[in-house]
């Protein structure tokens, strides 16, 4: 008998492994009718969650399961949808991975918990609570929603998030906000770096605080802010032409703290670090 060429052998092996790998994965789809202002609660240990706007009145969900050791429990109760990854037996993070993709009405409020993430939400104009231990959390183009984002070490990015309330808490994950404003925005990290680029909107209250991370703020000349910055053991530097305003309750110390206003000073901005470096500059 003729022996197979070696190249053909490896192609067969690769195809077999791919087929075996593909066989371990399975895809599940869920389709629901959702009324206005519905709510979705998703709990996933390992794997990504991506949420984008879909057709009004419908939720289309795809779950890619990476092994047979897990299943997805999905149940609808009225206008609330509950999705949960359920372990059938002990599984490693790779075996326990489920990747979700949700196409939902833009006014659907969300609660998403994923240990490792990533969690990505775009174009959803509703309240959301996004939480993950090491998950990377990304929120883009949200208008008017209340956003709560919490991680231990996962990075958090908000971009084009407007006119809502934002609360971000992370121990060591870096937090990056671009073109984000709202009525109240609080960022609290232990040593995660906080980076804000934008104009702080109009008449909002902003608190960016951490223990030992850096805080970098870049704002345009048109920003209307009343700003204070203080670092107990770190340094504070400013390249923005603020108007110095005496704050009776706030003491200014060169290199440690400053206060000032720009334009009408309509948004209140408080930058606070224990030992990190705070730097404010003009865009």
């Amino acid at each position: 008998m003729m022996s197979m060429p070696r190249g053909f052998y490896w192609v067969v092996m690769l195809a077999s492994c791919t087929a075996l790998g593909a066989a371990a994965q399975s895809k599940k789809e869920f389709h629901y009718t959702l009324g206005p202002h519905a709510a979705i609660n998703l709990v996933n240990q390992f794997g990504g969650v991506t949420v984008v706007p879909g057709p009004e009145g419908h939720a289309d969900i795809t779950a890619l399961l990476h092994s047979k050791k897990i299943e997805v429990d999905a149940v609808q109760r009225g206008s609330r949808l509950e999705l949960r990854t359920h372990f059938l037996q002990n599984a490693s993070p790779a075996e326990g991975q489920v990747d979700y993709e949700l196409h939902i009405p833009a006014d659907t409020s969300l609660t998403v918990r994923s240990t490792s993430g990533p969690i990505s939400v775009e174009g959803i104009n509703a309240d959301m609570t996004l939480e993950g231990d090491t998950a990377q959390i990304t929120v883009r183009q949200v208008n008017g929603g209340h956003i709560h984002a919490r991680t231990l070490s996962g990075p958090i990015r908000l971009q084009d998030v407007k006119h809502g309330d934002v609360e971000v808490v992370s121990v060591s994950g870096p937090v990056t906000l671009t073109n984000t404003d709202g009525h109240m925005l609080t960022i609290n990290t232990t040593d995660g770096k906080i980076t804000y680029t934008g104009d702080f909107g109009d008449s909002g209250e902003y608190v960016l605080a951490n223990h030992s991370g850096d805080i970098d703020v870049t704002l345009p000349a048109s920003a209307s802010v009343d700003i204070t910055a203080t670092s107990e053991k770190g340094t504070v530097s400013n390249d923005f032409p603020f108007h110095p305003v005496p704050h009776s309750a706030f003491s200014t110390t060169q290199g440690k703290s400053f206060a000032g206003t720009a334009n009408a000073g309509s948004s209140s901005v408080r930058l606070r670090s224990f030992s990190g470096r705070i730097h404010v500059k003009k865009q």
Binding site: A39, V75, R77, E82, S109, T129, H146, H148
Partner: protein, 207 residues
């Protein structure tokens, strides 16, 4: 979960003259003391009764009621009104109780149905016709019977038949399958049936 029995809308509930539940919630979010007390007054019985029925222990129920309301007050700022306040509080209280029971060592809901009669399980009622219960149960006897259920049966019976949770909700809460929830509920009801019939027979004997 079905709405609370006889529930009014939030806007109509009046706790003290001029203070509706909706107002009290708004004020409580801002730390108003009177509103905290008003909300407690409105919901204390339901929360305490739930805790007492699920634990069967007065001291634990008192502690858990306290913890449930404290959690409520800490989290009230996050209540956005997507569901009825009472539903939200109720769910919070159930979670508090279940966390407590798990720390104590919640009786595991078995993954496999046992076909053998369990030591404290209800007798299988096969073949023998018996006097029906209909019309003979009073609230006191039923409460006593529920109290004497084994903890695993009692939890699922309270959640389903008294508090109105659906099996899929119970399955999620308890980490079991829907089938298991139905099976355990059936066993709880069978056990209650036995207890109530025994109680009725004893009463008849005394009379």
């Amino acid at each position: 979960m079905r709405p609370e029995k006889g529930e009014l809308t939030q806007a109509k509930k009046t706790l003290v003259p001029g203070l509706t539940e909706a107002d009290a919630i708004d004020r409580a979010k801002r730390g108003d003391a009177e509103s905290f007390e008003a909300l407690y007054g409105m919901h204390k019985r339901r929360v305490y009764s739930l805790c007492l029925r699920m634990t069967g222990n007065t001291a634990e129920a008192e502690d858990l009621t306290q913890e449930a309301f404290l959690q409520l007050y800490r989290k009230i700022a996050t209540f956005r009104g997507e569901s009825a306040f009472s539903t939200w509080l109720h769910r919070l209280a159930v979670n508090v109780v279940l966390m407590h029971l798990r720390k104590k060592g919640l009786p595991e809901v078995s993954l496999e149905e046992s076909l053998e009669p369990q030591e404290d399980g209800p007798k299988k009622d096969i073949g023998a016709r018996d006097n029906v219960l209909a019309g003979s149960i009073d609230r006191v006897n039923l409460e006593r019977a529920i109290e004497s259920l084994p903890p695993g049966y009692r939890i699922i019976f309270v959640l389903h038949d008294i508090e109105g949770y659906e099996h899929n909700e119970i399955a999620e809460i308890m980490g079991c399958s829907i089938g298991n929830s139905k099976s355990q509920l059936h066993k709880a009801r069978m056990k209650l049936r036995d207890l109530l019939k025994t109680s009725r027979a004893e009463k008849a004997t005394r009379n």
